[in-house]
């Protein structure tokens, strides 16, 4: 299948794109790593001093925000999985000829600018909105209780914003399941539940894994939901990185934090990769 003799052609095809990604993705990561080990300040300049203390200080001073990022992203990912699995299942097995239309509904949120749909949640959860009023009438919330500026609001926003990233891979893996396998399980006296737990669900695991990663990675680095829907008490590590870079110009600390975030996520990704195999993960099969 491969034309191994045409030595140069693939490299010529690759060159422009790979060069671009090298210069504007890989090299910047190197600069970020370098910056994260510098010391100094914006007025007197930064010097490279192998100051690993940027890392320990970051973890020490912003432990709460790191933990919050992982917790919020984890809860949102789990919620997205639980909420969208039945719908992905429904579309895959009951969608019939409406499948494509229903999928269009699933990705509909992506057609509204990210910031605008987050602002819509600000409207929905606002103090005089119907959600708060209903919850107050039901005495779930106290008379002065609110949703905005709480961790609930931030997790709600994150869950909603990244839901399609979960639902789509779930649908794809469920859709590929050969219905005869489930029939076979039932012929062999498995109950519907057993057939689901021992045939359908395991076969949909690649979708679960892909959806989990696609949701968790952007969620862990997000700062928009915490900024618009939360209070400073709900700030995540993204908020700290953002303000250190763009407001406080404390570049080394911000760079160190970015690296800790990225390292944490990469470790998670590679653990997953070990579980499911890289080809499946990167979609590089074939």
């Amino acid at each position: 299948m491969f034309h191994r003799h045409r030595g140069l052609t693939p490299y010529l095809l690759l060159a422009p794109g790979v060069l671009f990604l090298t210069v504007f993705f890989l090299v910047p990561l190197g600069f970020l790593a370098y910056q994260s080990l510098e010391s100094g300040n914006i007025d007197f300049g930064y010097t490279f001093t192998w100051s690993w203390s940027n890392y320990s200080d970051a973890i020490h001073n912003y432990r709460a925000q790191f933990i919050r990022s992982i917790t919020y992203a984890g809860i949102a990912t789990l919620l997205a999985l639980v909420i969208s699995y039945p719908v992905a299942y429904w579309i895959a097995f009951r969608g019939g000829r409406w499948k494509n239309l229903l999928l269009l509904f699933i990705v509909a949120p992506f057609f509204v600018t990210y910031l605008i749909r987050t602002l819509a949640w600000e409207t929905i959860l606002s103090d005089n909105g119907f959600v708060v009023n209903t919850l107050q009438t039901l005495h779930v919330l106290g008379p002065s209780g609110r949703l905005l500026a709480t961790s609930t609001a931030v997790v709600t926003g994150i869950t909603y914003n990244f839901l399609p990233f979960m639902a789509l891979p779930l649908y794809v893996s469920l859709e590929q399941i050969d219905g005869r396998l489930i029939e076979a399980a039932e012929d062999l006296y498995a109950s519907k539940l057993q057939a689901f737990l021992r045939v359908t669900f395991p076969l949909s695991l690649p979708g679960v894994v892909a959806g989990t990663l696609l949701t968790f990675i952007p969620a862990a680095g997000d700062f928009i939901n915490a900024q618009l829907l939360g209070s400073p008490d709900n700030h995540m590590i993204g908020n700290v990185i953002q303000s250190k870079f763009l407001e406080l110009t404390d570049y080394p600390a911000a760079a160190a934090m970015s690296f800790i975030l990225m390292a944490g996520i990469l470790v998670a990704v590679f653990l997953y990769a070990r579980l499911v195999g890289t080809e499946q993960l990167t979609g590089t099969a074939g």
Binding site: L13, F24, N100, T113, T123, N128
Partner: protein, 285 residues
Amino acid sequence: MSAVAVERASRTNVLSRVWAFVKHHILTVYSILFFVYLLLPIAVVVVFSFNNPPGKFNYTWNAFTWDNWLHWDAVPGIRSSIVLSLQIALIASIVATALGTLIALALVRYGFRGRATTNILIFLPLSTPEIVLGASLLTLFLNLSFIRVQFGFWTILIAHIMFCISFAVVTVKARLVGFDRHLEEAAMDLGANEWTTFRKVTLPLIAPAILAALLLCFAISIDDFVVTYFNSGSEVTFPLFVWGAARIGAPPQVNVIGTAIFLIAVTLMLVNVLIQMRREKRGLA
């Protein structure tokens, strides 16, 4: 078969049918609720684009008006931000799709040293949080000692091409993998050289994937906030405009533009879906 056995069989049959009916409908009802939840914020965006807000905050419904739609550019800065977003999205999607298509061709068509490494290089930007992409590019621009980088149009454009390339590669690759190579071999057998074969056979066949990659890149670019925020300097794209406006209370015109983008995107997708459905129907008939 004895009467008892028949009766038992029919009873379990009825029970299982009832169970199937209930289960079927629970899932359907749940799915409808799910879609209500999914579409609720979109409805809010659309509805509040027709609101005449009581104060500077567009949070509570006051009165219906067409004014926001008629005077969509009445807010200073909104028009120029949209123009900039469109320019960036257009150029970034074209460049990223071109670079991405070439990479996809190399990855699917050729075995070469470094193929696995290239796959990882394509995958890495997709698995890196946007904030790290934005921050690292900012660090590069800040630390280039030999040129003084002017933040603005070019830095935004570079950033957008960078994060779009991987999406373009993945999209085009998906189509190339399922590609029937016999068609190309046939063209070659009939005397076409490699370039003619590519132009006359390969390109038309992967054109839908290239178009899909273009649209995807365009959509991602026009929606991007985080990476742009780090590398924009004083230039303002539409998402940056929304961010700035949100701090002091976003005007209803923001909802107007949001609704317009939504309607355009949905119309394009609907047309695509309807064509597919019709094709499937014809295929069955």
